[in-house]
C-alpha cells in the first residue's frame, strides 16, 4: 500500500514523490490534501497538498520541503518503499469557475499546491497571470510547468538571482492597479507572503483566496488543532478549508499558532526576521 513509484529531487531540499494511492487518486480534486505518517506508533501526522494525481495509474504526486523530522524521513525513502499511513483526500476542493482574469501567486513550496489549482482554473477558461517567487533561483520549483499554464508569467527572487529582484507583492500591486483589475487572486506560500498579498489586494477590492497550512492532527475535524480565526469566527482548516477569503483571515493569530511548539526564542527570531525583511523591501520599493 502507498508504494513510492517515483522520487525526484526538485531543488536542494524539495522533493517530489509519486505514490500509489488508487482510492485517493480517484476522488481527489484540486485544493485537497493528504495526511501522512511514517510510523504508526511514534510518528507524527503531517498534512501535504496533493500536487497532482493520475486516476488511471492510481497515483498521486506529493511535493514537500524538508523542514522537520517527518519530512526529513520522507526524503530518505526510496522508490519501492511504502508510506505506512496515508489518509485523504481531505479538505474542501477549490471552487473552480470562470472568473475572468486570475492572478496565481506562488511562493516557495506553495507553488506545489498552486499548480493543480491554476491548471483547473485555466481549463475553466480563465486568463491566467502567474507570479512566482522564491528567495533565490535554486529554490524555484515547477517553473516550466507553471509557465506552460500562464498567459502572463512574472518571476521574482528576493536576491535577484533570476527574474525581478522583488517580493511577489510588488508585481501583484501593479496588476491590481491595472484597468481592468484582475477578477481574482489565488495566493499560496509562506503565511507572511499570503498576509501581505491580502494586504496588497485589499485597497483595490480585488478578492483573494489563500490556502492555509496549519498544524494538524487528525485532519477530519475532530481536534480543532488546525483552527484559525476567519472574519472573527473560528474555522477548522482541515474541514472548512484549506482555502479561505484572504481578506478575512487573521494571519497574525495563524502564524502565532503555527509556532506553538517552537521554542519561544526561535519563534521570536523567525517572526522578526521575516517581518523586517518584508517591511524593508516594501519601504525600499515605495
Amino acid at each position: 500500500m502507498n508504494r513510492i513509484l517515483k522520487k525526484t529531487q526538485l531543488s536542494d531540499d524539495v522533493f517530489q514523490l509519486r505514490v500509489a494511492a488508487p482510492l485517493i487518486a480517484a476522488e481527489r480534486k484540486p485544493g485537497q490534501f493528504v495526511i501522512l505518517q511514517l510510523d504508526s506508533d511514534f510518528g507524527e501526522r503531517i498534512p501535504l497538498t496533493i500536487a497532482d494525481a493520475d486516476a488511471e495509474e492510481g497515483s498521486i504526486t506529493l511535493i514537500f520541503q524538508v523542514v522537520g523530522k517527518t519530512t526529513h524521513r520522507l526524503a530518505d525513502l526510496h522508490e519501492g518503499d511504502c508510506i505506512v499511513n496515508l489518509l485523504g483526500p481531505l479538505g474542501q476542493p477549490t471552487h473552480i469557475a470562470k472568473f475572468g482574469t486570475v492572478v496565481a501567486v506562488g511562493g516557495g513550496i506553495g507553488v506545489a499546491p498552486l499548480y493543480p489549482i491554476t491548471r483547473a482554473l485555466r481549463q475553466a477558461g480563465n486568463r491566467i497571470i502567474i507570479i512566482m517567487g522564491a528567495r533565490t533561483q535554486r529554490l524555484l520549483i515547477l517553473e516550466r510547468e507553471m509557465r506552460a499554464l500562464a498567459d502572463e508569467f512574472i518571476l521574482c527572487t528576493d536576491d535577484g538571482s533570476c527574474g525581478r529582484k522583488a517580493l511577489v507583492t510588488e508585481p501583484l500591486k501593479e496588476l491590481c492597479a491595472r484597468v481592468p483589475k484582475p477578477d481574482l487572486v489565488v495566493a499560496i506560500g509562506p503565511p507572511v507572503m499570503m498576509k501581505f498579498c491580502a494586504e496588497t489586494t485589499r485597497p483595490f477590492g480585488v478578492p483573494i483566496v489563500v490556502s492555509l497550512n496549519t498544524i494538524m492532527v487528525d485532519g477530519t475535524g475532530m481536534c480543532g488543532g488546525c483552527r484559525v480565526t476567519v472574519g472573527g469566527a473560528t474555522r477548522f482548516v482541515c474541514v472548512d478549508g484549506p482555502e479561505f477569503d484572504g481578506h478575512q483571515v487573521d494571519f497574525d493569530n495563524m502564524m502565532q499558532r503555527l509556532s506553538a511548539y517552537k521554542k519561544l526564542e526561535d519563534h521570536a527570531h523567525d517572526q522578526c526576521h521575516l517581518e523586517q525583511e518584508i517591511k524593508r523591501q516594501q519601504e525600499a520599493a515605495s
Binding site: 480543532g224 473560528t234 511548539y261
Partner: protein
C-alpha cells in the same frame, strides 16, 4: 487518610473470607451487609502522578469473592433494570461466589461484548449500582455492590488466563457489510454481523482502530492492550479493517453502498467535533480542545517525550474547563505531563458533574484543584499570542429549571483572573458534519445527530447508525447496546433477502481489490 496498599487490601480480604468460611455460605442479608465493601486497589497517588500506567489495579480473587458475597441475589434484581443492556448481574455475581469465573464472564458476554472495557469505564453509580438494593439498604450508592469492578475482574481473569475464545463464525453467506468507524459501536456491529457469516469490513479514519477508547480515554484508565485484544479477536473472526479511510472523503458512503457491493452499512463515527466556548482569546496559543490534547497524548504518544515525534504543550499552570470524564482525563493527563498546577473549572457543583465518581476521586487524589461554580469569561494572552491567564466569573445556584436542577447564574462583578498558561476545553463534543454533508438523504436532527428508528435504521435503505453519532456524546455501553440492536437488524435484513449470492473469491472482500 493514607492510601491502602494492594497488599493490605488483599490481606484484609483474605482474613475476612476466613471468618466467613469457604464455598457458598447461606448468609442472611444482615450478614451480607456487614461484609465491608471492597475498595479498588490503586497505584499510590504520588507515584502515579508521574506515570501512565493504569491507576486501578483490579480485585484479587479474594476481594472479588468477598464483594460478590455482599450481593443479596435479589429476586427482582433492581440492578438489571439499571443496566442499559440488561446483563444478568446476580447470575454473574453468583458464579464468582462459586469460584466459576469462566461461567461468570460467559454470562456477561451473552449480552455485553466488551466487559473488560465497560467494567472500567461505565458510569455504574448512575446505572446498575444506583438501583442496587444493597446500596439502598446502606443508604449510600457508593456502598452498593461494586458490579463494575466484579465485571472487570472476571473479564481480566479470562484474558490473563489466555482463555478468550474467538467466537465461531457461520459459513460464508456471500453478503458484505461495511462498518464506518471502529469505536465500541462499530466493533460490536462487526462482531455480531460477522458471526452470521457475512463478510465485514471496518473503515476507520485513524491509523489505529478503537475510536475514543484509543484516542480519548487515557492508558491510565483503559490500557490500550485491552482494546487491542478486542480488535485482534475481530480480525481472527475474519473482519477486515481498512485504516486511513475517511468515509465521505476517501469514498462516499453512497458509492460504497451502490457500487462497491455492500449489502448494508453501519455508521458508528462517534461525536467527533469539539465544542469551544465562543469566548475571546480562544484561539490563543495554549488553548486546546480536550480532544486535541488527549489525542496527542494517547494516540500520538506525545507523553513519550523521547520517542514520539508529535509534540505536546509543556505547561506549568493548566485550567481545564468542564466536569465530565473528558475533563477529568485531560486534567489528569496534564498532571502526568508535568504541569505544576492543574485547575478544573466547572460551572455547576460537584453533584452535577457527569464524570464517574471514581475519576473525580482519583483526580483529587492526584492533586487536581477543583473550582466549582466558576466559568471562563475570556482568555488573556501576551504579544506573542500565548495564554497568560483566564478571566473567570463566579456563579451561584439559582432557581430550579425545567429539569428540576438548580441553574447556575453568574454573579455580576465577580470577575477574577486565574494565572494559567494553558486552557483545555472539555465542554463536550458534537456530531462531526462530514458524513451528513457528503451523504444525500441521510436525515439528521438539528444538532446534527443521525436520526434512526428503533432498529437503528437511518432514512436510507440498508444504512444503520448507532453510538455517539446518534445519541450525542454518550457512553461506551450505550454505543455497544445500539450496535447490538443494529447488528440484529442487519442480520435479519440479510437473512430475509433470499437473493442468492455467490460467495466471493478469496481476497475479493479486500476493498483494495474489489473497489
Amino acid at each position: 487518610m493514607s492510601h491502602p496498599t494492594p497488599q493490605q487490601l488483599a490481606d484484609q480480604a483474605r482474613a475476612a473470607l476466613e471468618r466467613i468460611g469457604p464455598g457458598c455460605p447461606a448468609l442472611k442479608p444482615k450478614e451480607r451487609l456487614a461484609i465491608p465493601p471492597q475498595p479498588m486497589p490503586a497505584q499510590d497517588p504520588q507515584s502515579r502522578r508521574r506515570n501512565l500506567r493504569e491507576v486501578a489495579l483490579g480485585y484479587t480473587p479474594e476481594q472479588a469473592r468477598l464483594e460478590a458475597l455482599r450481593c443479596w441475589q435479589c429476586k427482582n434484581a433492581a440492578c438489571v433494570a439499571g443496566c442499559p443492556v440488561c446483563i444478568n448481574i446476580p447470575g454473574f455475581i453468583q458464579a464468582i461466589v462459586e469460584g466459576d469465573f469462566q461461567r461468570s464472564v460467559d454470562i456477561i458476554k451473552e449480552v455485553s461484548l466488551l466487559p473488560a472495557v465497560c467494567g472500567r469505564v461505565c458510569p455504574q453509580e448512575g446505572q446498575c449500582q444506583l438501583t442496587c438494593t444493597v446500596g439502598k439498604a446502606l443508604k449510600d450508592v457508593n456502598q452498593a455492590v461494586s458490579i463494575g469492578r466484579l465485571e472487570r475482574f472476571v473479564a481480566d481473569w479470562e484474558r490473563e488466563q489466555g482463555r478468550v475464545q474467538v467466537p465461531p463464525v457461520k459459513p460464508a453467506t456471500g453478503r458484505k457489510v461495511a462498518v464506518v468507524g471502529s469505536g465500541p459501536a462499530g466493533i460490536t456491529v462487526a462482531a455480531d454481523v460477522r458471526r452470521e457469516g457475512h463478510a465485514v469490513t471496518i473503515f476507520e479514519a485513524f491509523h489505529k482502530p478503537g475510536g475514543v477508547m484509543v484516542y480519548g480515554i487515557p492508558e491510565f484508565r483503559l490500557p490500550k492492550a485491552i482494546v487491542q485484544k478486542e480488535v485482534e479477536t475481530l480480525e481472527q473472526m475474519g473482519v477486515k479493517i481498512h485504516l486511513n479511510f475517511v468515509v465521505g472523503r476517501t469514498r462516499k458512503l453512497l458509492d460504497q453502498l451502490e457500487q462497491d457491493g455492500f449489502d448494508a452499512m453501519f455508521i458508528g463515527v462517534g461525536a467527533g467535533l469539539p465544542k469551544f466556548m465562543n469566548i475571546p482569546g480562544e484561539n490563543l496559543v495554549g488553548v486546546f480542545s480536550a480532544n486535541e490534547y488527549l489525542t496527542r497524548a494517547n494516540l500520538m504518544r506525545a507523553y513519550d517525550f523521547e520517542r514520539a515525534d508529535t509534540p505536546i504543550f509543556r505547561s506549568t499552570r493548566v485550567a481545564v474547563l468542564g466536569g465530565g470524564n473528558v475533563a477529568m482525563d485531560a486534567a489528569r493527563m496534564a498532571v502526568r505531563l508535568g504541569a505544576q498546577e492543574v485547575h478544573l473549572v466547572y460551572r455547576r457543583t460537584e453533584v452535577e458533574m457527569p464524570a464517574r465518581v471514581e475519576e473525580v476521586a482519583h483526580a483529587k487524589e492526584e492533586g487536581v484543584i477543583f473550582h466549582i461554580l466558576q466559568n471562563a469569561k475570556r482568555i488573556l494572552g501576551d504579544a506573542a499570542g500565548r495564554v497568560t491567564g483566564m478571566e473567570c466569573l463566579r456563579y451561584e445556584l439559582g432557581a430550579p429549571d425545567a429539569s428540576g436542577r438548580r441553574r447556575p447564574v453568574e454573579i455580576p462583578g465577580s470577575e477574577f483572573v486565574m494565572d494559567v498558561d494553558t486552557v483545555i476545553c472539555a465542554i463536550g463534543n458534537e456530531a462531526n458534519p462530514l458524513l451528513r454533508q457528503t451523504t444525500a438523504g441521510l436525515v439528521h436532527n438539528k444538532w446534527g445527530n443521525i436520526v434512526t428508528d428503533e432498529n437503528q435504521k437511518t432514512s436510507l435503505d440498508g444504512v444503520y447508525a448507532g453510538g455517539d453519532i446518534v445519541l450525542g456524546a454518550a457512553t461506551v455501553i450505550l454505543a455497544m447496546g445500539q450496535g447490538r440492536v443494529a447488528a440484529a437488524a442487519i442480520n435479519q435484513r440479510l437473512a430475509a433477502q433470499d437473493r442468492p449470492k455467490v460467495p466471493p473469491l478469496e481476497g475479493a472482500e479486500n476493498p483494495e481489490i474489489s473497489i
